[in-house]
């Protein structure tokens, strides 16, 4: 079988910390060789990536579509097309994707779809039913679930969380839980600050996230479970995560890409596209999230992609459904922080490559000899206007019209080119 050779690129691989020029030879869907001046064979396809960056294809740990089980604004096919075009090689469906991923049969269905999919599909299983009883976690993991979690609905019953964590600890699986106090966060629409209170919106205090994290962290300590705090968004929450780590707990944290780009001022005009869950926070929180990424405290930056029909946003801010179609902004959001000098490329890419890949326990998300050839070629400085050139996903997005950086030129999954920009 012929090989593909990528030449002339700057190779950025957060797993190994490599950032410098290198050529890559790809054979049989795997990375065969990495080196300075690899010779091209007579039948080799050569991809010249001079002046570009080659990195592992992105791993997104949280996205929604209408499947399994439903129909709507975003099918699995359109979601995967949007992912491929934006440099994402692995999508993880949220437990609440479609009508919910709550049974091992749902995981099997997704695994079957994955066989013919252009990108890799993973799924997170819903850990509990309505926060009352535990779902078939063992069977879901055996069927291939990457992790299990509450899907974004905080579980009120502390005893059930204890049992869930104890049960899941027997499988060495990451349990993804919402970092919120269920009562302080119930019915809230905006972050608690003088600004949102003046806007007359029901508000969620930062301390809700802190209490949510401290409660679960104490139970993780008791049970020895691996806990991923899903969508941390406040400085107070980050401090609670850091404190839990200092006690030696295996705690991971993810951050939504929207919260790295926007703060509460963006929702000051009551624009329903900026109605998000968790709500957009203060600028000091956004700064703290970026700092936490540069310090390696954040394992995953997630798109939290939720494609809503237009009429879900055709209401005043507080009546609009929270969520944003953000998958196509995942890489540009991070590239923008790189272009602004806030993060190095290694820091920016780690939480969308090796960070989430390690949580899922998968081999991709790194550039190493023998690893799957899931790669992207991109220009991290290229200016883009989100949605201007016709995004693949047509749903309302908080990023619409925003000036960002980062253009994906090529996406490769298991050695196959699944997206190539017309240049």
């Amino acid at each position: 079988m012929s090989a593909t050779l990528i030449t002339g690129a700057r190779l950025v691989d957060p797993a190994s910390g490599h950032d410098g020029p290198a050529n890559i030879r790809i054979e049989d869907g795997r990375i065969a060789e990495i080196g300075d001046a690899l010779p091209a064979g007579p039948d080799d396809e050569v991809v010249s990536a001079r002046g570009r960056v080659v990195a592992p294809a992105l791993v997104d740990l949280r996205a929604h579509c209408a499947e399994p089980g439903g129909s709507g604004a975003e099918s699995l096919d359109t979601l995967m097309a949007a992912a491929a075009s934006s440099g994402i090689g692995t999508i993880t469906l949220s437990p609440l994707s479609g009508t919910g991923i709550s049974r091992p049969e749902h995981i099997e269905l997704i695994a079957a779809r994955a066989l013919t999919a252009p990108v890799r599909l993973a799924a997170a299983g819903l850990a509990t039913s309505d926060g009352i009883e535990i779902n078939e976690i063992g069977l879901m993991l055996r069927a291939g679930a990457g992790l299990v979690g509450d899907g974004g609905r905080p579980i009120a019953d502390t005893r059930l969380i204890r049992r869930l964590l104890a049960y899941a600890s027997g499988f060495d699986a990451w349990v993804s839980l919402s970092p919120e106090d269920p009562f302080l966060s119930a019915g809230t629409i905006a972050h608690e600050s003088d600004m949102s209170v003046r806007m007359g919106l029901p508000v969620r205090p930062g301390v809700s996230e802190r209490i949510g994290i401290e409660r679960v962290a104490a139970l993780a300590e008791l049970t020895g479970a691996l806990v991923l705090f899903d969508r941390v968004s406040t400085a107070e929450g980050l401090a609670a995560v850091a404190a839990a780590r200092r006690r030696g707990l295996e705690i991971a944290a993810s951050v939504p890409a929207t919260h790295l780009m926007f703060n509460e001022v963006d929702m000051g005009g009551f624009d329903p596209r900026h109605r998000l869950d968790p709500p957009l926070r203060a600028e000091s929180d956004r700064e703290a999230l970026i700092t936490a990424i540069s310090e390696g405290l954040i394992e995953a930056v997630v798109s939290d992609h939720l494609a809503l029909p237009a009429d879900a946003k055709a209401n005043p801010f507080s009546d609009a459904v929270p969520g944003s179609a953000s998958i196509e902004a995942l890489l540009p959001a991070l590239c923008t922080l790189y272009a602004e000098g806030r993060l190095s490329l290694l820091e920016a890419l780690r939480p969308v490559t090796s960070g989430p890949a390690d949580l899922l326990g998968v081999q991709q998300g790194r550039i190493a000899e023998g690893a799957p050839a899931d790669l992207i070629v991109f220009d991290p400085q290229a200016p883009v206007v989100h949605g201007r050139d016709g995004p693949v996903s047509q749903a309302p997005s908080a990023f619409s019209g925003r000036r960002l950086h980062g253009l994906v030129l090529l996406t490769m999954v298991e050695g196959a080119i699944v997206h190539q920009a017309e240049t």
Binding site: V197, G200, L201, A314, N315, P316
Partner: protein, 322 residues
């Protein structure tokens, strides 16, 4: 300054909140309202400045007095006034508010008056329909005509409110009236005090340009006016206050408690009142103190002024861009 001295035209084609107004805008509204107030006391109250225009009062929340006030205001200026009282339930049945807005816009109204439980709802209608819109209350966000009529009432008594000390007492957290009044009173350089139990005051209220008190006697000290807000009975169920009795004892306005205020301290209430809870009947009905009925009367005049001014402004714009 006489009105002819202004070389400044009222620039707003909407009134979505107090926050967009400057002191000159307020003065223009008040001068116009003063004329309407006089006219409203005459036997023939009918004007014609809005003749031929259609005003839709779109009330998604139950209201008697505000709706009646806007309806009278429009009719006294000659507008054709239609009231839509749509329960919020109709939205939950499937039609988005954007659909409602577009349907109404297709009926070609010239003025919309919107009350809705969601902050930003009036702005939403204004942006979607392009029709001149008055915010008649959007959730706990703003109720600009209420603040204007409150401050107008005080201005008529005092000449101006600058330098005066005004306390607002009660459920500040859920009150659009308090938010709009704090903005407007700050704009006109009054000293604003907010008073209530900590559960009914926003955590950052001290950053609003007001001083925060939890003790009513301290808050009332030296006040020129005090406005008390209606306490909703559902606040008891939510654990925000323990009982009506305790609230009345701690925060209810009485003649005795006004001892520390200025001797001629005025008492205001945006209505409807819970007599015996946030205010005693004797105080509410005391003609020396209470401005409550003056506020209602001023309300019609203020709303006439606002409707007329924004209609003039949007009329101009239509002529400029055919």
């Amino acid at each position: 300054m006489s009105e002819a001295g202004f070389s400044y035209a009222f620039p707003h084609r909407d009134l979505l909140g107090v926050s967009g107004l400057n002191p000159l805008d307020v003065r223009i509204i008040f001068e116009r309202a003063e004329r309407h107030l006089a006219r409203n006391a005459e036997r023939d109250k009918k004007g014609s400045s809005l003749k031929g225009l259609t005003q839709i009062n779109l009330f998604f929340e139950a209201s008697t007095r505000t709706l009646a006030s806007f309806e009278l205001a429009g009719k006294r200026l000659g507008a054709d006034v239609v009231n839509f009282s749509a329960g919020n339930a109709s939205i939950k049945k499937g039609e988005s508010l954007a659909d409602t807005a577009e349907t109404l816009a297709a009926m070609r109204p010239d003025l919309l008056v919107v009350r809705h439980s969601s902050p930003g709802a009036a702005k939403f209608f204004s942006e979607l329909t392009g029709v001149s819109t008055v915010n008649a209350g959007d959730g706990a966000h703003e109720h600009p005509t209420q603040a204007l009529l409150d401050v107008f009432t005080l201005t008529r008594r005092w000449g101006e409110i600058g330098g005066r000390r005004i306390a607002i007492v009660g459920d500040i957290l859920h009150s659009r009236v308090a938010r709009s009044n704090v903005s407007l009173m700050n704009l006109l350089n009054a000293e604003v005090r907010l008073c209530g139990p900590a559960t009914l005051l926003p955590a950052d209220a001290d950053r609003w340009g007001a001083t925060v008190f939890h003790d009513l006697d301290a808050a009332l000290e030296g006040c020129d006016a005090v406005m008390t807000l209606r306490i909703q009975r559902e606040r008891m169920a939510g654990g925000l206050i323990p009982s009506e009795r305790e609230y009345a004892a701690l925060y209810g306005l009485t003649h005795d408690r006004l001892e520390t205020a200025q001797p001629d301290c005025l008492v205001m209430h945006p209505g409807p009142m819970n007599r015996g809870v946030e205010i005693t009947s004797a105080l509410a009905d005391d003609p020396e103190r209470s401005t409550i009925l003056d506020q209602v009367e001023a309300g019609v005049a203020i709303r006439m002024a606002v409707l007329e001014l924004i209609a003039e402004r949007s009329g101009e714009r239509t002529e400029i861009t055919p």
